[in-house]
Symmetry: C2
Subunit: 321 residues, 2 copies
């Protein structure tokens, strides 16, 4: 649940007057995104999302994120389209914060995706990678393999308080990943956070992808591994290979995995599971007393790590060749 920056009616009307979108009709703070303040805005011209960037987003990254969403939209991907103001800028300021207006997307997040949702998501991910192919800007993935040891160091002393043996399991995975992390895979723009809450569906068709604030330049197949982790495990911790098969096949309808990506898939999955286990663990150990936000469970990803540690080939994830 987001904490909102308050925006007065006067500030809002002055901000919107900088765009060619008519007068403000209504504006409501919405519970979407944990990093920023978001508002559903209606004007005489249509519906928009107004985002105020709070301090967890680096202001210097905003031109990358906003430029990327414009690029992807221009290349046919349905994602929020940043609206340009009368000066031609996508980034403005409101209530003392960097702010942007993007188009409103219809759709619902699914809480329990089925195999058809996974297939549609795989295809949407492929389209995202294709649409991002010639995006000229780059942004390093701060949460890839070189970023994991600092997270591990920050959390390891208390890891066994969360689950006995967690420190050792994380250490072993980290050692193996640092030694064997694949280099030279096809890279490009990745979303890097395509969990179910960032994908909208109408029925079983993807109606849009949102929240590009972890997007960066990295191995394309790493993005697929994040989605396999986020979408294809069951609540009991087992990997659902039917969902994995649907997702990989959906992806390959748009972009066929290359042999080195196929070979690297188990390691990539293990890496992305470690990445989310570690960031969740750090958040878990740093919940302020009395906080209303319940942090996400790091042990969900500890269980996924154990699956990936034993997997030996992409076929175990549902690749069919």
């Amino acid at each position: 649940m987001a904490v909102y920056t308050e925006v007065s009616d006067e500030e809002l009307e002055a901000f919107v007057a900088g765009y060619d979108i008519g007068r403000v009709l209504s504006c409501k703070g919405i519970a979407e995104g944990v990093e920023n303040s978001n508002f559903a805005l209606h004007t005489e011209r249509g519906s928009y999302i107004l985002t105020l960037y709070e301090k967890r987003v680096r202001e210097s990254d905003l031109p990358f994120f906003l430029g990327l969403m414009r690029h992807l939209s221009a290349n046919g991907l349905v994602c929020p389209l940043p609206i340009l103001d009368r000066r031609g800028e996508a980034l403005g300021r409101l209530a003392g914060r960097p702010a942007a207006l993007v188009s409103f997307l219809e759709g619902l997040s699914v809480r329990r995706p089925n195999a058809r949702h996974c297939g549609a998501l795989g295809e949407a991910l492929g389209r995202l990678h294709a649409a991002g192919r010639d995006f000229p800007m780059t942004r390093e993935n701060a949460l890839s393999v070189t970023g994991w040891r600092p997270l591990f160091e920050a959390a390891q002393a208390q890891a066994d308080r969360v689950s006995p043996g967690l420190r050792e399991r994380a250490a072993q995975a980290l050692d193996a990943l640092e030694r064997h992390w694949p280099a030279g895979l096809p890279t490009g723009v990745i979303h890097a956070d395509l969990f179910t809450d960032n994908v909208f569906f109408i029925g079983e068709a993807v109606s849009g992808l949102i929240d590009f604030y972890f997007a960066c330049t990295d191995a394309l197949a790493y993005d697929l591994s994040i989605c396999l982790n986020a979408w294809c495990f069951e609540p009991d911790g087992s990997f659902n290979v039917t969902k994995g098969r649907a997702m990989i096949a959906g992806y390959e309808r748009v972009r066929r995995l290359e042999p080195d990506e196929v070979e690297a898939l188990p390691l990539l999955c293990r890496g992305s599971a470690l990445r989310f286990m570690l960031t969740r663990l750090v958040d878990w150990l740093n919940v302020p007393p009395g906080a209303l936000v319940k942090p996400k469970d790091p042990l969900e990803y500890d269980r996924k790590l154990s699956f990936h540690g034993k997997a030996t080939s992409a076929f175990e994830y549902g690749l069919q060749r």
Copy 2:
């Protein structure tokens, strides 16, 4: 900021299928109302607010609130219109809670109303009272004079911790109000909580009134006194008689105050100021540690009480005859 009940996509789609409003297109939790969970819902048919009633609202009161909004809408007042489901019911259940769908109203709350806003609000209040005239249901005002002593008793021991002398000032006001509270004034449906966040404007015209969950049957002029308190004081604590004049004149364009209401106005204003001072004081003294919600300042209403204690006639509030 509201704490939201989570609603899954499956539950939501099943709930909406009970209405003749087409398929769900999107649904976002919004930061509106502190008592309930609210969602901005788009369907193929239009925009709605979906409300899940949390435990602070008594379920047995819901037929009064929903019936009232339907009655007021039918009589031309712009307020949320509860949508009937296929069985003809306005009240349903979703995620284990009583739930209702109402029409979406455009408009913005003003943070700093000017005299024209106050005039428009006064007129809207008059229209609300006129539209409610023949509403057949009644609901007692639990927060009128007989409800204040229990609040005072709950807070008095700690009142001076909040401001020296506050206990004595509240006790004196309460004694005077209990002795002299007017009886026999014209009564009807009152909103009883028409603060600026419950009034939408487009430009300087009222576009709708919302949040009828304190509505009850009480003296109509008491409702006006609540608005005078909420809208016509300046941040420095002074009463702005230009705003009061605009509000009362606006109200009287629709419904002229009767002589006994005119006479009672200072006492009614003092009473409503005490009511909000006491409920705020109780909330202030009962903030759970670590809460993110900052309670509203009871001392704002302590200062207003002191103005009303000295006022001797409705002319000091801007009545012009």
